[in-house]
């Protein structure tokens, strides 16, 4: 190799040259005092870099990160619980009729049911009507009434009656 090796000197130090390239660099360095000095200085620089000590992370940094992760995973569960609580509370407000001393929680939990009630739920027809009025307006529960709905649909009283009848059927088996 007649030219100076340039960046091949660092690659030589790092053992990153193919055998023939390494031999060529070594041959040049053996004959070139300037490159020998460069190689020596580069080797010292490399040693200084590789000898840099490990830096200790601030202990609270990693603890903070772990805590954040735990909090975020707990947050999901907390949000779900709060949401459930709010749903229950709303159900109580909406579904709590003055005459109904029976479990409002049960009512609220069944308030999503399209039919407005669950078999066995002890409640009066009036209470069920409160739930089923919006439910019967949904396509899923008024499939048979679709035509009528388009022409104005059944009155609220009719729907309440229908819901009460359904519940009585369910309760009566």
């Amino acid at each position: 190799m007649r030219e100076h090796p340039g960046d091949l000197l660092s690659a030589r130090l790092d053992g990153e040259l193919a055998p023939d390239a390494e031999a060529a660099v070594d041959e040049h360095v053996a004959a070139c005092a300037a490159c020998r000095r460069d190689l020596d200085a580069l080797a010292r620089t490399r040693t200084l870099l590789r000898g840099l000590p490990q830096v200790e992370a601030p202990p609270d940094l990693l603890r903070r990160q772990v805590d954040v992760r735990h909090r975020s995973s707990r947050r999901g569960a907390t949000v779900a619980l709060v949401a459930a609580g709010v749903a229950v509370a709303l159900g109580m407000v909406v579904a709590d009729p003055p005459a109904d001393g029976g479990g409002p929680v049960t009512q609220s939990l069944t308030s999503d049911a399209p039919q407005g009630g669950t078999p066995g739920s002890p409640r009066s027809p009036d209470t069920v009507g409160t739930f089923s009025a919006p439910a019967t307006a949904s396509p899923a529960t008024t499939a048979g009434d679709g035509g009528q709905a388009g022409e104005g649909g059944p009155s609220l009283a009719d729907r309440l009656d229908e819901a009460a009848a359904r519940l009585l059927d369910l309760l009566g088996g």
Partner: protein
């Protein structure tokens, strides 16, 4: 109660090769912080970088392939650093002459000046004076300990570019420490 300890790779990995996120943070936290500090040169910036790295680790742990955990973490840290640099352009790249070797007077006096009693802080300061891409490459080589091909893959550049950056980076460091 059966508790899932860690995300598991499917396939050829024997159980236990993929640590939990907490284990990574605890076992390799100092290593990640060291790489972050060598890249940023500032404790505040290093902490920000570590936060970002740990988020990336958290997201990427399921795809981790057993091997050198520190090499994996070093790549993530360096790429997070370079992403941040590109986003903020806080230290624009400095155009360097084609042959930085020529900037360095090659004389016995200079080599003697590069004595063994150079302090780590001096080396760190000199490292911070490098252009970001050079520093990232040198850190991956001399702090993380990756091979040139691994660095090329991590930074998505040719191996020749890696070789050039490492050499030029060291030459500039040598001059700064002389």
């Amino acid at each position: 109660m059966v508790r899932r300890r860690s995300p598991r790779r499917t396939g050829d990995a024997p159980p236990g090769d993929v640590p939990t996120w907490e284990e990574v943070a605890r076992r390799h936290g100092d290593f990640v912080y060291t790489v972050a500090y060598r890249l940023t040169g500032d404790h505040h910036d290093a902490q920000d970088l570590v936060q970002e790295v740990l988020l990336r680790v958290q997201r990427g742990l399921a795809t981790y392939r057993p091997g050198s955990m520190e090499a994996w973490l070093g790549r993530i840290t360096t790429n997070a650093f370079l992403d941040d640099v590109r986003r903020r352009r806080r230290r624009p790249l400095v155009a360097l002459p084609d042959d930085p070797d020529r900037m360095v007077p090659s004389s016995p006096a200079v080599d003697e000046a590069l004595a063994a009693d150079v302090l780590p802080d001096d080396v760190n300061d000199a490292l911070q004076a490098l252009p970001d891409d050079y520093r990232a490459t040198v850190v991956l080589c001399d702090v993380v300990g990756l091979r040139y091909e691994e660095i090329a893959a991590a930074l998505a550049v040719p191996v020749g570019t890696v070789r050039s950056r490492i050499h030029r980076g060291r030459v500039l460091l040598r001059r700064a420490l002389a």
